[in-house]
């Protein structure tokens, strides 16, 4: 009897780590676009990159409850690191990704101690401030970054020495998608681990997390550093696949956009960033084709409507559908907290 109970406990705990059918379908469809949508690879590449960027924000916002309006600092640093590296002859893309990740992680680690203090408002201001400072540094250091003209003269070598980048963006998209997928698997693994569980507990109630013996600050530093590295990789992917870096990678709208993307897709279940990136880019693409001058007006309006009127219900509907597809047994009609993040 007691071994039955132990089995029940084990399977219930391990259940979170299982892949649902919906998830497998999601990635199969993503991979199939490599063949089925050859003329859309440039925008799909952008979607994969923004998706990874939003995934990195989800790691800190959705799993640790840290709000940030300056996540572009890490994205931009990663982009410049990879771009400058390639410009000065280190053309191997994977090397660039690793260096970019390390650079962003160092910045993340250093600034995490500022972000740990204070309220949500303080966090927003501190993260925003860090990104602004970095943007101005990049602007001033034009000898290194190209300043307002952008970093030009990047030429990337073939990936793994085999796959050259092409003008249709097919290699680029395959590359970004593969990197995003691998980092997604890692993130997914992390959030169902005991470490990930402790992050969720900190998000829910830091006071109690401490009373359970969790070194709260250390865990937050760890996840903030990790998320920074992820954002750095996303930035590096953009630099490498477009072979250009401008000050735009550090701009405020990058940080704001990625927050919007995550909010559209839903916080705290890792797919939110990816789904949000698809919705955001497709909306942007469709509207700007329809009305090139006023697309920002429409996208702003749509975002306000989504967030005010339907986001909770929208994501909940998707989630219910998702759970149905994945055949999960978790209850779906739970009341959801209006402000805090949720988990799957």
């Amino acid at each position: 009897m007691s071994s039955n109970i132990a089995d029940y406990v084990r399977t219930t705990l391990v259940r979170r780590g299982r892949w649902g059918i919906g998830e497998i379908l999601f990635w199969l469809i993503a991979a199939s676009t490599l063949y089925f949508l050859p003329e859309r690879h440039l925008i799909l590449n952008e979607i994969a990159i923004i998706g990874l960027f939003a995934l990195s924000l989800d790691l800190i916002l959705g799993y640790a409850g840290i709000v940030s309006l300056g996540h572009a600092a890490f994205f931009g640093l990663g982009a410049y690191a990879a771009g400058i590296l390639a410009k000065y002859g280190f053309a191997d893309p994977l090397l660039g990704l690793v260096i970019a990740a390390i650079a962003a992680a160092i910045l993340g680690f250093a600034t995490s101690f500022l972000v740990l203090r204070g309220s949500d408002l303080t966090k927003l201001m501190v993260t925003l401030g860090v990104a602004l400072v970095l943007g101005e540094v990049a602007n001033q250091a034009s000898w290194l970054t190209g300043g307002a003209d952008g970093l030009q003269g990047i030429s990337m070598g073939p990936i793994l020495g085999l796959f050259e980048f092409d003008i249709f963006g097919t290699t680029a998209y395959a590359y970004s998608l593969a990197v995003t997928f691998l980092l997604f698997i890692l993130a997914r693994r992390i959030v169902v681990s005991p470490f990930g569980l402790s992050l969720r507990s900190i998000r829910d109630n830091p006071l109690r997390a401490r009373a359970v013996g969790i070194p709260v600050n250390r865990r937050l530093v760890a996840v903030y550093t990790l998320a920074a590295a992820y954002a750095g990789v996303a930035g590096a992917l953009l630099a490498q696949t477009t072979q250009f870096v401008s000050l735009d990678v550090l701009a405020f709208h990058r940080s704001a956009d990625v927050m919007l993307v995550l909010v559209i897709g839903g916080v705290g279940y890792l797919y939110g960033g990816l789904i949000g990136a698809i919705v955001f880019k497709v909306l942007q693409d469709v509207i700007s084709a329809w009305t090139p001058q006023y697309w920002q007006f429409w996208i702003g309006l749509i975002l306000v409507i989504i967030v005010l009127a339907g986001r909770e219900r929208l994501t909940e509907r998707v989630r219910t559908l998702w759970k149905g597809m994945a055949g999960r047994t978790t209850k779906s009609n739970e009341p959801l907290p209006a402000t805090s993040a949720r988990e799957i």
Binding site: S2, I5, A6, Y8, V9, R10, T12, L13, V14, R16, G17, R189, I190, V192, S193, P194, F195, G196, L197, S198, R200, S201, D204, N205, L207, R208, A209, R210, A211, V212, G213, I214, P215, V216, R219, K331, E334, P335, P337, S340, R342, E343
Partner: protein
């Protein structure tokens, strides 16, 4: 008898207010000790000093003979000093299973494990089962904590602290707000706590204090007023005066 938890000359001042006034207190190994006192006597401040939420102005705290005065609160938990909260401090979006699992895996050093899926380790699973059965949470293990009945949440509150395998357990009004129907279950689990855990109970409810504790300390205006067996304290006219005076004022 060995001393589980001891304070020497503990003082906490908030500006001009002396919230804890030179408290020298001993909790014996395996004790069932109650700390009572009128509202505003400084019971919560005292708990916060013990657990490291607040730093004392002066004085020392010892856990099983080792000084912990300057230790961060999570390290005190790891040394075996756990607490429950007067107002539930749970993880609303997590299940009791995950909550207990978290406490167990943290104690076994699993919190740094970012690769294995939670629940892959046998010793963690076995302990979760043991704690869940002890606190009668088996039937709600996979429910969302925010959806649990209040009595169950109260049980979980104690279960999480117990899952930290404390040598000393501080119970802060464990039965507060629990409806009469669920009260019995809660008191039974508190009474059944193993004797190798020393318990300090902070309580208003005299029935619970008299049925549970074998020693009582009375805190008044931040200072230890008196201490003794249940018999001594309950018949002490000065305690009655302090208490009755307070209740009449309320």
């Amino acid at each position: 008898m060995a001393i589980a938890l001891e304070t020497k000359g503990l003082v906490k001042r908030f500006g001009g207010l002396q919230a804890t006034d030179n408290v020298s207190f001993k909790l014996e190994q395996g004790a069932r000790h109650a700390l009572i006192g009128p509202n505003g006597a400084g019971k919560t401040t005292f708990i916060n000093l013990l657990t490291g939420v607040l730093k004392p102005t002066s004085g020392q705290i010892f856990l099983e003979g080792q000084e912990i005065t300057g230790l961060r609160s999570e390290l005190r938990v790891q040394r075996g000093l756990a607490r429950t909260f007067q107002i539930n401090q749970l993880f609303p979006a997590m299940t009791p299973l995950e909550t207990i699992g978290l406490a167990v895996s943290e104690r076994l050093g699993g919190g740094r494990d970012w690769w294995r899926v939670t629940g892959r380790k046998h010793e963690i699973v076995d302990e979760i089962v043991e704690v869940a059965q002890r606190f009668r949470l088996m039937d709600v293990l996979d429910e969302r904590t925010s959806n649990l009945a209040y009595g169950k949440q109260r049980l979980l509150e104690i279960a999480v602290a117990f899952a930290c395998r404390p040598r000393v357990l501080l119970l802060d009004e464990p039965a507060a707000g629990v409806p009469e129907a669920e009260r019995h279950e809660l008191l039974a689990t508190v009474a059944a706590l193993p004797r190798d855990v020393s318990v300090l109970l902070i309580e208003h409810d005299m029935d619970l204090v008299f049925s549970f504790a074998d020693r009582i300390s009375v805190l008044v205006n931040g200072a230890l007023f008196t201490e003794g067996t249940v018999e001594e304290v309950s018949t002490d006219p000065r305690v009655r005066a302090v208490y009755l005076g307070e209740s009449v004022d309320e």
